[in-house]
């Protein structure tokens, strides 16, 4: 299966986009989302705290405190990345290649960036449908379909022309 879900959540824990590739009931989603968001937020908080300490003490020692972008959660992993106020969280199977997913997140952001120009949380929020279209072109049934940005954006441009 590979990718189980992709979430975009802001610092306040508000979901901006949620796409699941395995069916979860609403209750399951309601339980899952805050849980993993809390987990990942806590990690980055800690990271920021550590970075603050760096200036005071020995940088080398405290740089070690930085946490990695992979969190084990239940029986799968979450690969996450933060862009300004927005977190991208991708749930993957345990044997998935984590770094490949991490860069796939970046590819997604770059693609949105190309379309929106300096993409921000509000773009995704107010253009929910476009964000969905892009994702739809990139991931299907938990597998990566396309990594070529022009191909990904072609249908959206087509639609823009039609509107």
């Amino acid at each position: 299966m590979g990718i189980r879900f992709i979430l975009m959540v802001n610092k306040q824990g508000q979901t901006r986009l949620a796409q699941y590739y395995e069916y979860l009931t609403l209750e399951e989603r309601r339980a899952l989302e805050p849980e993993i968001v809390r987990k990942c937020l806590a990690r980055t908080e800690q990271q920021i705290l550590c970075k603050a300490v760096i200036h005071v003490y020995d940088a080398d020692v405290y740089l070690y405190m930085e946490q990695c972008s992979f969190v084990e959660h239940r029986n799968y992993k979450i690969v996450y990345r933060r862009y300004a106020s927005l977190f991208f969280l991708v749930g993957v199977d345990n044997d998935e290649n984590e770094l490949a997913i991490l860069e796939f997140i970046h590819l997604l952001v770059e693609t949105m960036d190309r379309h929106f120009g300096n993409v921000c949380e509000l773009d995704i929020m107010f253009h929910l449908e476009k964000a969905h279209f892009m994702l739809e072109e990139m991931v299907m049934n938990g597998c990566i379909v396309e990594t070529n940005k022009s191909s990904i954006l072609a249908p959206i441009q087509l639609m823009d022309k039609m509107n």
Partner: protein, 1043 residues
Amino acid sequence: MALSGMRGLSVFISDVRNCPNKEQERLRVDKELGNVRTRFKNEKGLTPYEKKKYVWKMLYIYMLGYDVDFGHMEAVSLISAPKYPEKQVGYIVTACLLNENHDFLRLAINTVRNDIIGRNETFQCLALTMVGNIGGREFAESLAPDVQKLLISSSYRPLVRKKAALCLLRLYRKNPDVVNVDGWADRMAQLLDERDLGVLTSSMSLLVALVSNHYDAYWSCLPKCVKILERLARNQDIPQEYTYYGIPSPWLQVKTMRALQYFPTVEDPNTRRSLFEVLQRILMGTDVVKNVNKNNASHAVLFEALALVMHLDAEKEMMSQCVALLGKFIAVREPNIRYLGLENMTRMLMVTDVQDIIKRHQAQIITSLKDPDIRRALDLLYGMCDVSNAKDIVEELLQYLSTADFAMREELSLKAAILAEKFAPDLSWYVDVILQLIDKAGDFVSDDIWFRVVQFVTNNEDLQPYAAAKAREYLDKPAIHETMVKVSAYIIGEFGHLLARRPGCSPKELFTVIHEKLPAVTTSTIPILLSTYAKIFMHTQPPDQELQNQIWSIFNKYESCIDVEIQQRAAEYLALSRRGADLVDILAEMPKFPERQSALIKKAEDTEVDTAEQSAIKLRAQQQTSSALVVTDQRPANGTPPVNQLGLVKMPSMSSNADHNSTDQGLSQENGTLSKVDPQPPSADLLGDLLGPLAIEGRPATAGQQQQTVTPGLGSDPNAVDASAIVPVGEEQNSVQPIGNIAERFHALCLKDSGVLYEDPNIQIGVKSEWRLHQGFLVLFLGNKNTSPLVSVQAIILPPSHLKMELSLVPDTIPPRAQVQCPLEVVNLRPSRDVAVLDFSYKFGNNMVNVKLRLPAVLSKFLQPIPVSTEEFFPQWRSLSGPPLKLQEVVRGVKPMPLVEMANLLNSFRLMVCPALDPNPNNLVASTTFYSENTRAMLCLVRAICLFPGLQTLIGGITAQLNPQLSVRIETDPADRTQLRMTVASGDPTLTLELKEFIKEQLVFMPPAPHAPGPVPPAPPVAQPTSPVAALTDPGAMLAGLL
């Protein structure tokens, strides 16, 4: 910021965003839901644009976590809209809101199919995507051929075909038959020739799914995958848009290497060479660069390549390269790479024999414990720990424990406890570790951990004073954890008296220091403290009046405690302590614990199951390690003879009793006491323990007195006298003494199919066997109990003429703590009582050890019990008249046993006793079928009659006539059961004779002649009265007997 084309949607999203709190948000959402619902109700008035807008609002609300229980129909109906924008919304929102079993989805199948086979490729894409995301079984059945056509046909553009590939993957998962068509593998291989990387990426995902189930159908795809890798790695013909930070599609590279990991090997030498060239290039050519994205992408490829190299079992040189790379990674600052380095090193540990190279990085790995992502390092350390580095690793874990994240502490302490137990170089260190563990992280130390340390201390006398002194030290600390109170109180109660002459350790002082803790503890601890008081009181010699009053007043107080456990103990101890001398007997030291599997290890195994990965590597690793055996450390503790062992696994108490005979032989004989040998076969679960992943343990020596306490009156049973006196041929020259009685072990194995055949301080040989007609399949489990290898291992089978035996290759060396399995096949040619002998030798240090062991491939193993009715029995019995087909013998000196037991004995030799067949209830009749290659199935009848003046009793057995037959008849005398008349009959004279003799051997008590050569089995263990001894096998009863 450009607003969405749908103004109403933007306004709503904006409203929700501006809500100051959750309550307001809910109100706004409810209002909108009401609005949408009303609009949907008069559907006729809705334009497609409005419909689209409302459907998006529903999706948005659903995403926020509110239930949307209406409007699904509207979403689905948009699928059939003629225009692209509406259709698109319909497909996407349907895929988000509905699951594959939703009824509405079925309604849309036709529309979806029309879109898929239609000519509009944008519609095709939308439909394929939705089916690929939520298509169910029905879709698989009706759409699969169409989707396949789209994927294969080159007349469709890549944008359609790439979606068709993943759509087909979905349909395949719903119904694997959709691609189980002839020639699909060839088509799949053709697909891999595709130039378009989009189609190739999707097709590779499809291939991964297919080969993960049936790789053997797809061998033709393997060279194509290697070609794709070559193309990517050499950056040939890769469009700019498919390179990511200069790296040709890292995702496709990763997927391709993943697909290759599902093939067990790469056989074709050319393909293999090409593949290794590519892998080598990736391994060596990946540099750390400044750009984070480029770095991540290239390392994603690199880690996948590492996994593939591990999978392919590359040459040692390449493996060392990999470990060197991983060693580099775990030292870098970048947390992701470090994490993956640790994770992959853990995998490496399981797959190949590079442990030693990995150990060089131990210091670095230990540093990684300070990472916030400690788990990876912990797993790796746990995996790489062995006797050589246990001390370092466990002490690091302990040190780290007090600063570790709370969430990690339980796992940390459990793992530290397990490692300490598994690999302790000496027992006092183990005790130190556990006590430190309790001291530092008492809250996270489960009861299992302290129970375990108590077991060890109880079972190892050398350890007791040390443990007591340690416990005493901890009690001096001002605030100790309640678990520490429990464990130290228990140890002081049991062994505190061993400290008597040390300062601060008089009974009174011990009492005081423990009693100080009482006000702070919970009710679960108080019973333990009460027992401790009782024991301290018992050990106070001469009695101390003041202490007595103090303790009595405590018992008095708790006698009316509301907690039943406390109340009962207080009341009983008070009563007991007034009985004077009796107290000493009743409150004597606790008996040794029966060895059992460590609850901790079991627990750890259980938790591992939860997180088990499904990756190809891991699966393989599990298969490889499953035969490994963890054996206890046999190194003598504190310089004493090897009686103290860190037992890991439960052994039935019976065999430990037997062991005491040999390990404590000197002691028991000196005292004139004898350990009673339990006649019952070991419990059935012996094998599970023995052959499980953690087999073997040593067992503690037991003092003879204890045994005597349990079985008074049985100690003088003459039958047990020289149970251990039969020494295998050549045994005398060995300096290594066997543990347990070899003859008894053989005998037990004659009765059952698995168990221990031989054990000494260095090795344990277990046998598991299966018997089918005239064939036997045995597996010998050779377990090295030591931490150094056993060399010059030799096992030669000396088969008697009637058995054809074939032993598979036995390795020359058994690695430390490893178990080797050697299958052995047996074919029975004809009836005979002769026994096969295993001539086994090995070298340990300078000692050559050689033993000759009888193998339990005895006559009875080739018998198959068979019931016969009266109508069948007697005609056959009569038809076999007189010698040599029917033989009769009066057997004297039979071990006395009740009739029931004799029946059981016959049954256990696969002679089926047929009750009520003989008119006389005192007679036994049994029947069985004998199998050999020459005679095939042959029926045997047995009848035993007790010789009682004037009365004949049938005991033997009889069988029906299929082929040549055999019957036995034994007549016994109810008054004098040492005599019986046995008649055996079958259609084959040799069989009759051999079976008669065989049964006789089992029935007759033969005084075991010391150094008796040849295969004369001593009968005693088989046939003794069981009832009084039953208590011995049950540790609970044993305890009860003592208390």
